[in-house]
């Protein structure tokens, strides 16, 4: 189980939602239009769009990873006519992009994962042209066979990169390997030795996509919360479920479920609430407490409910359900309601004890106030 650092930007629960949103951003005419059901993923050198983690949980794993996608890499800001080598590759559980030598080995071995790097596509193409890996299942791009069935219990983070290695400006075309080559071209061409070209396509500056598309595939449910730290608190026509403060970054919210216990004293608690007839559930907003009310959640007053909870992680994986106990929503009185029910006279009820007849004191005080006002007025007139 891994704790994932959380960014402040909103996370997408399902990668499909993210990918669909990208379709509209595809440049018109850059590629042949994909099939209607395809998803298009763009990886751009300057990144920016894919700086969020896109978590895929247990439930969405099968559906999302079987989606047919078109992986489109856009190479921008290169001079037309320049040639380049372009790569699309994926890393597993690596914080950074692949070393060029490792990537070359991975591409040469046709999809084999080497040191966490798997080459998906390589092409020599004009620097301004896009490349695409069309109509493939997302799961086939991931170097983890266990993912096909989504039955693993591990958690991995995959990062999809575009790498562009442009040719030296002005070089008309890659020189075939083994061709005779006159050294002293004036450029810092890499990989040349003596008069034999080992790799003539290098030149200029290499650019990896600054920010990769990141898929976090989390097939491990969160740990079971400590039920002792939860509390069912009685509110006015409501039950409030308070949560423990946790430093477990994996748990992002809790699912609270409730069902009528069947007995007025709430003693029947066989099994979880979600297994009961008519059970309802609600997700917390973050790890703030959840307030379930008669108005919003349909709780009936003076009726016992069994409550259960389960932790939910950022991939929407749901942990084991634990029972929280029984709560009974009640009508609590505020001060005004209590006062009215006591027949307080301010509400028109009958007075219970007469007040002190103090009109004399009041009039005396009023007289003092009037005299004071007169004195002030006289003082001002004398000035």
């Amino acid at each position: 189980m891994k704790s994932t650092p959380h960014s402040s930007t909103p996370r997408r629960r399902v990668v499909a939602a993210v990918l669909l949103a990208m379709i509209a951003a595809a440049p018109a005419g850059a590629l042949a239009a994909p099939a209607a059901d395809d998803l298009v993923v763009e990886i751009t050198p300057d990144g920016g769009k894919y700086d969020d983690l896109n978590p895929i949980g247990i439930e969405s794993c099968r559906a999302d990873l079987r989606k047919i996608v078109t992986l489109r890499a856009l190479a921008k800001d290169y001079t037309a006519g320049d040639l380049s080598q372009k790569y699309i590759y994926v890393t597993r559980d690596k914080a950074s992009s692949c070393d060029p030598d490792i990537l070359e080995q991975a591409c040469a071995s046709k999809g084999t994962e080497i040191d966490g790097c798997t080459c998906l596509y390589r092409s020599d193409i004009d620097a301004k042209s896009d490349i695409s890996l069309e109509n493939v299942a997302l799961s086939t791009l991931l170097p983890d066979e266990g993912l096909t069935a989504c039955d693993g219990s591990a958690e991995s983070i995959y990062r999809f990169y575009l790498k562009v290695v442009p040719s030296k400006r002005g070089t008309p075309a890659p020189v075939p390997e083994g061709s005779a080559f006159k050294q002293n071209s004036g450029a810092a061409d890499a990989g040349m030795s003596d008069a034999t070209v080992v790799d003539a396509t290098t030149g200029g500056s290499t650019q990896d996509s600054a920010t990769p598309l990141v898929l976090e595939i989390d097939l491990e449910p969160p740990t079971t919360p400590d039920v002792e730290a939860f509390r069912l608190l009685s509110g006015d026509e409501a039950i409030e479920v308070s949560f423990p403060s946790t430093d477990n970054a994996e748990i992002v919210k809790y699912e609270i479920c409730w069902a009528a216990s069947g007995l007025s004293d709430g003693s029947a608690s066989d099994g979880g609430a979600t297994g009961g007839v008519g059970a309802q559930c609600r997700l917390s907003a973050g790890t703030e407490s959840v307030r379930l009310t008669a108005d919003d959640d349909g709780l009936l007053l003076e009726r016992a409910y069994r409550f259960t909870t389960a932790a939910v992680d950022d991939a929407d994986n749901r942990g084991n359900e634990v029972a929280l106990g029984t709560g009974i929503p009640r009508n609590f009185l505020d001060l005004a309601e209590y006062y009215r029910q006591m027949h307080g006279p301010e509400t028109g009820g009958c007075v219970q004890r007469p007040g002190l007849r103090s009109a004399g004191f009041g009039l005396a005080a009023l007289g003092l106030a009037v005299l004071s006002a007169l004195a002030v007025g006289r003082r001002r007139r004398n000035r």
Partner: protein, 259 residues
């Protein structure tokens, strides 16, 4: 609480160095004074309910907020009218009081007929999360007399106050808004009343005349007093049987500045 404050007042008085030499009143001509005062306060709301034995602590205020006093803060300003035989002044005070307590499940002592009967089968449970509140803003107009003619010799100034009061009140619901007695009848309003107070003010200038002179020169404060008073406030619309009662008998203490 009142007994405790009275004891505190007595103890403080006994510590004053009454034998110290007085050198006369400092500063410039006085025209008025301002005061900041604090009083332990518990509105007399429950006094209008004739609670039977076993239900004495089940009046609305006691049930929600307990039997202890809470704090009332008062800010006052007065203008001096006559200073020939002591100081006669007129002015006003405005205060603030706020108390909150847990919402209650029911009436342990239910009104029956014209009275209240104890009923053990009704709930005594209180909410664990929802509260109700009572806010009071007292406004007082008053005249006061301070016997200041001997304060140069003995830094103790007897004080008498009396005035008219209007206490604005507001009950808060469990949701934090304004509560209602019934549908459409907001639980807010005001209650008239009166008050008087007796007390002693301790002239602090007496203990550090140079500091008092600096305070006068720099801030225009002629004299500074430590104030102790007993106040009786009768806030019931002058004996009305249909008004919320908010009076109390308490000790008020604070600081006063003659300007």
């Amino acid at each position: 609480m009142n007994q405790r404050n009275t004891a505190l007042l007595s103890a403080t008085m006994s510590l004053l160095p009454l034998s110290a030499a007085a050198e006369g009143t400092l500063g410039t001509k006085r025209t008025g004074n301002i005061e900041i005062r604090y009083a332990p306060y518990k509105p007399d709301m429950d006094s209008q309910f004739a609670l039977p034995a076993g239900c004495e602590d089940q009046g609305p205020y006691a049930r929600f907020f307990g039997d202890e006093d809470d704090g009332l803060l008062l800010f006052g300003f007065q203008t001096h009218l006559i200073q020939k035989y002591g100081t006669l002044a007129a002015g006003g005070n405005i205060g603030y009081f706020n108390v909150s307590g847990q919402a209650q499940a029911g009436l342990p002592c239910r009104p029956v007929g014209g009275g209240i009967a104890s009923s053990a089968d009704l709930g005594t449970e209180e909410s664990e999360v929802d509260e109700s509140s009572l806010k009071i803003v007292p406004v007082q107009g008053e005249v006061s007399y301070r016997l200041t003619i001997w304060e140069d010799l003995v830094p103790l100034v007897p004080v008498l106050r009396a005035g008219l009061d209007y206490y604005m009140w507001r009950m808060g619901s469990t949701s934090g808004g304004l509560a209602k007695f019934e549908s459409g009848q907001s639980a807010s309003g005001g209650t008239w009343g009166w008050h008087y107070a007796l007390g002693l003010h301790v002239l602090l200038d007496y203990f550090s005349q140079s500091m008092a002179a600096d305070f006068d020169r720099d801030a225009g404060v002629n004299s500074t007093y430590l104030t102790f008073e007993y106040m009786h406030a009768q806030i019931d619309d002058f004996g009305s049987s249909t008004s919320l009662r908010l009076g109390d008998k308490t000790v008020v203490f604070g600081l006063g500045f003659d300007m």
